[in-house]
């Protein structure tokens, strides 16, 4: 028997995560994401490789990042999938915000044809069944799934799936260290046939988080102290809250009076959700939120468009991330030409975005299109604290779980190759990193479930060297029932027969004559 994994996305790349695993005859789709670097059909996984949209038993989404959920409305409303969809409560609450936000940018700013409508998003999300951490869900009589806390972003989960004796875990994106608003990933000691893990930082080992935070805070403080403006382009949900907590705390400690702004709308609405989903945050927040809710930022105020060119220092969180368009691009156009200002890029930027261009080398000019040119004289700071686990975290997880087989997804090819080497040589576990549209066959050790009688178990003997218990018995296999192993003495009773007893005598009865 084997588990068959079809990698529809995030194979040797970061983006459009989608894995369809056939386990024990049941198909599960883990994640249904879109690739942020494309705006045409290449953004979605190739669903035509599936024999039918509806032979999938269920779809499970790990978290609300677009590269994990972006293609879901397309899959349900356009491809016609109408089976169960599972995700955690925060994911169900926050995903529509992310999806609608991105859809608006595509349509309003870039004038591109949308792949799905606002109604599609609402209709799709209405079908979602929310699940809690460590809640076991019986999808049907054979398939069982369970979510584990993954850290990374609010509501992110690792998904465990089991059919009969075949067990696997799909990690999605996770973080093995806690941060300011989330705890670290938590997993039980499962015995797995297959582990599918992300490998974004497959070869990076990150040093102290505090050092890197201090660097960022110093850069921001220096800029505002000199009267400059700081632009932090982020998506409305995720890093924005983390950085806000960081800055709010620092402002409090250092008694700084410079305003911190959130671009109005989405992020403020998001805070409403975060306050209701406190149960999914870090232990520290859970212990103290009744006294002071960390998402009630003291120094943060909403921003108006008219304030872009007001004099004086400030810090602004503007969406979308990577300066891929929208409001953050508008602000960037105004603030980039001044050398007093600072742009802080929070995380990974997909190729093709302005964020990516700023990160790779120091451009003095950026051409938006043939008519627009922006002079870039401001400073650029790249934040190096990421919500993904580093390679030490991945190795720790693999070692802890000791699965029989590992598949790497969501990373870059050369780094994944190095990580695969490490896993195979240091942990002796077979590892692969398939490309998109490849299928991997993972053999599973199958065992037959039987029942053993008490006498059988009691009778088993110990070999001479005391190491192995050897058991002998008779296996009875009846159609429609579990096989049963019994001891010899119970055997005939089990099948309802009587033993033939043969006796010998040397005396031949005269009857014979």
């Amino acid at each position: 028997m084997a588990i068959q994994c079809l990698i529809l996305g995030a194979g040797q790349e970061v983006g459009k995560s989608c894995v369809v695993a056939m386990i024990g005859g049941k198909k599960i789709m883990f994640d249904c994401g879109m690739h942020m670097g494309f705006s045409d059909h290449r953004a979605f996984p190739d669903f035509s490789l599936l024999s039918s949209s509806n032979d999938i038993s269920c779809v499970v989404i790990t978290h609300f990042h677009l590269d994990h959920i972006g293609a879901l409305p397309y899959f349900t409303e356009v491809c016609g999938y109408n089976g169960p969809i599972y995700m955690t409560y925060p994911t169900k609450a926050l995903a529509p915000l992310m999806l609608e936000d991105y859809r608006k940018i595509l349509v309003d700013r870039r004038g591109l044809e949308e792949q799905y409508t606002y109604e599609n998003i609402i209709h799709c999300m209405n079908k979602v069944i929310p699940i809690d951490i460590k809640q076991t869900i019986q999808v049907d009589k054979d398939l069982l799934i369970r979510a584990y806390y993954a850290g990374h972003v609010l509501g992110a989960a690792m998904i465990y799936a089991q059919v009969g004796e075949e067990k696997m875990l799909y990690t999605g994106d996770y973080n093995m260290t806690p941060d300011r608003h989330l705890g670290a990933a938590q997993i039980d000691r499962l015995s797995l046939d297959l582990l599918i893990t992300e490998s974004t930082y497959a070869t990076t080992v990150r040093d102290s988080k505090y050092l890197r935070e201090r660097e960022f805070l110093k850069a921001v403080h220096t800029c505002v102290a000199a009267g400059g403006k700081v632009l932090i382009p982020t998506f409305a949900l995720g890093r924005a809250q983390e950085l806000c907590i960081l800055l709010d705390d620092y402002w409090e400690r250092m008694n700084i009076n410079v305003p911190i702004y959130f671009s109005a709308g989405l992020t403020i609405q998001a805070n409403m959700y975060y306050k209701m989903l406190i149960g999914w945050t870090s232990q520290k927040i859970k212990d103290s939120y009744t006294v002071r809710n960390p998402f009630d930022f003291k120094h943060v105020c909403p921003f108006e468009r008219s304030m872009i060119n007001l004099p004086g220092p400030c810090v602004l969180f503007a969406t979308p991330g990577m300066i891929s368009g929208g409001f953050s691009l508008e602000v960037f156009k105004q603030w980039a030409p001044s050398d007093k200002n600072l742009i802080a890029i929070p995380g990974y930027c997909v190729a093709g975005t302005i964020g990516h261009k700023l990160m790779s080398g120091k451009p003095t000019r950026i051409d938006l299109d043939k008519d627009t040119r922006i002079d870039v004289r401001c400073q650029i700071h790249q934040l190096t604290f990421s919500p993904h686990t580093d390679s030490k975290g991945i190795m720790d997880l693999v070692e802890f779980l000791s699965p029989k087989h590992v598949i790497l997804v969501h990373g870059e090819k050369p780094k994944m190759a190095a990580l695969k080497q490490r896993i195979e040589s240091e942990l002796g576990i077979q590892c692969e990193y398939p490309a998109n549209n490849e299928t991997v066959l993972v053999p599973t050790t199958q065992s037959l479930k039987i029942s053993a009688s008490k006498t059988f178990v009691r009778n088993c003997t110990t070999e001479l060297d005391g190491d192995e218990r050897i058991a002998e018995g008779i296996l009875v296999m009846e159609k429609g029932h579990n096989a049963k192993i019994v001891s010899e003495e119970e055997f005939l009773e089990t099948i309802g027969a009587e033993r033939n007893v043969v006796s010998f005598t040397g005396w031949v009865s005269p009857l014979a004559q």
Binding site: Y273, I450, A452, I470
Partner: protein, 419 residues
């Protein structure tokens, strides 16, 4: 919240531990009889388990209480609700506020408790535990309970102490106060009762379960109106049988104190056992055997014999036995075992003609002497004289020659079922 009954069905034992019905005022004879007669099919049981009828009843009660409060307030009296369970207080608050809103009345509501702020903040962060209607609020970005908004608007005021300057500044009567403690022996409720006990316009709302006579003795003479109500706290007795039927367990453990409320019909498949305080209840083991797993490589080594008349196949098995997390595993042993041939087990009727044929194959001539039911006798002449008597499953081989005896035995074995 809807309960996932099917997920929990088919377990071995249910321990029933809901004692709330012991002090329930709603218990009456009719309900008990309903207990015995209810629910024919599983579908019937599921319907009876749904909370809709309970919800309606609770809503009616809430409405009645609110209208009593409105009456008191209109006369100029205040209402005191000694808090016990917040699960009751919160919906009651929502009802009261909605009613006042519809009647355009502005009455201040005070919650006086040191832990109220924390509790109220907590109630806004537990969407996973609430009913689907309230979860919908999470998904549309609204607060789970109305009280959050009402506190912001200043309609509800949460204060830790009764004698704090903050509270005294905003104090206004008539008002509604929710304050501990339901026992009426501690907390701000005591002071407020002293203040209002002689006011015939005021209202006291007590939850059932409190011995009203005893609790109110220190406040006599009592001119204040008292409303004692019962709120749903556990499962209603009439729903217990449908519950057991839906869950389909093999054994049900019920407290001895509730014995009189359970009558089990003969047709039901579960067994009932009763338990009492401080006594160990002994339940017979349901396990007939142990759970075990057989490794496939061991399975491939098996040489099964088919027994078509019984529709089963049997095979001898020898392997390594491991115990991991309470489950047995049978795998291939590390060392090659000496598969010593065990004497085979035989069973089944011996057909006389088959036996003769088998004997002939071994060059033994014989003839059937008599044949009655399954008893028969075979007389052997060559190569030596022998007598084979078969009586049921007892076979006697009488022969002087040991070799011939052995051959006859072999022939016999070949015609029997054996392993």
């Amino acid at each position: 919240m809807e309960f996932d009954y099917p997920l929990l069905s088919g377990h071995d034992i249910i321990i029933f531990s809901d004692f709330s019905s012991l002090d329930s005022m709603d218990y009456d004879e009719e309900d008990t009889n309903k207990c015995a007669l209810s629910g024919e099919s599983e579908d019937c049981s599921m319907d009876e388990l749904s909370g809709n009828d309970e919800l309606e009843a609770e809503n009616e009660k809430m409405h009645f209480i609110c209208s009593c409060i409105v009456d008191s307030v209109k006369k100029g009296g205040s209402a005191l609700i000694p808090s016990g369970r917040f699960g009751v207080v919160l919906p009651l608050l929502e009802h009261i506020c909605n009613l006042f809103d519809s009647l355009n009345m502005k009455v201040p509501i005070f919650i006086i408790s040191e832990t109220a702020q924390e509790t109220l903040a907590l109630t806004n962060s537990i969407p996973e535990w609430l009913c689907k209607q309230r979860q919908k609020k999470l998904f549309s970005g609204e607060a789970l309970f109305q009280h959050m908004e009402l506190i912001k608007e200043g309609i509800i005021s949460v204060q830790p102490f009764l004698y704090s300057s903050d509270l005294l500044e905003i104090w206004k009567e008539p008002c509604i106060v929710i304050s501990p403690h339901w026992s009426l022996r501690l907390g701000s409720a005591v002071q407020l009762l002293h203040r209002w006990h002689a006011d015939p316009r005021s209202l006291l709302i007590l939850e059932e379960g409190v011995h009203a006579e005893l609790a109110l003795m220190p406040f006599k003479p009592l001119k204040m109106k008292v409303l004692q109500c019962s709120f749903l706290s556990g499962i209603q007795m009439k729903k217990v049988n449908p519950l057991f039927q839906t869950l389909r367990s093999k054994i049900v453990l019920v407290p001895q104190s509730l014995r009189s409320q359970f009558t089990r019909r003969e047709s039901e498949l579960y067994k009932i056992y009763y338990y009492t305080k401080n006594e160990i209840a002994r339940i017979p083991s349901l396990k007939e055997g142990f759970e075990a797993y057989l490794a496939t490589d061991l399975v491939f080594q098996l040489q099964p014999t088919k027994l078509p008349e019984k529709n089963i196949a049997v095979a001898r098995l020898k392997g390594k036995l491991l115990l991991r997390k309470g489950i047995y595993y049978l795998t291939l042993p590390n060392k090659q075992l000496n598969m010593s041939v065990k004497p085979s087990v035989h069973w089944g009727t011996v057909e006389p003609t088959c036996l003769l044929q088998a004997l002939n194959e071994k060059e033994i001539d014989g003839s059937i002497l008599h044949n009655e039911n399954y008893d028969f006798c075979v007389c052997v002449e060559k190569p030596a004289e022998a007598l084979i008597e078969v009586k049921g499953n007892k076979i006697m081989i009488s022969c002087e020659d040991k070799t011939v005896s052995a051959l006859i035995n072999e022939a016999l074995n070949s015609v029997c079922n054996r392993i």
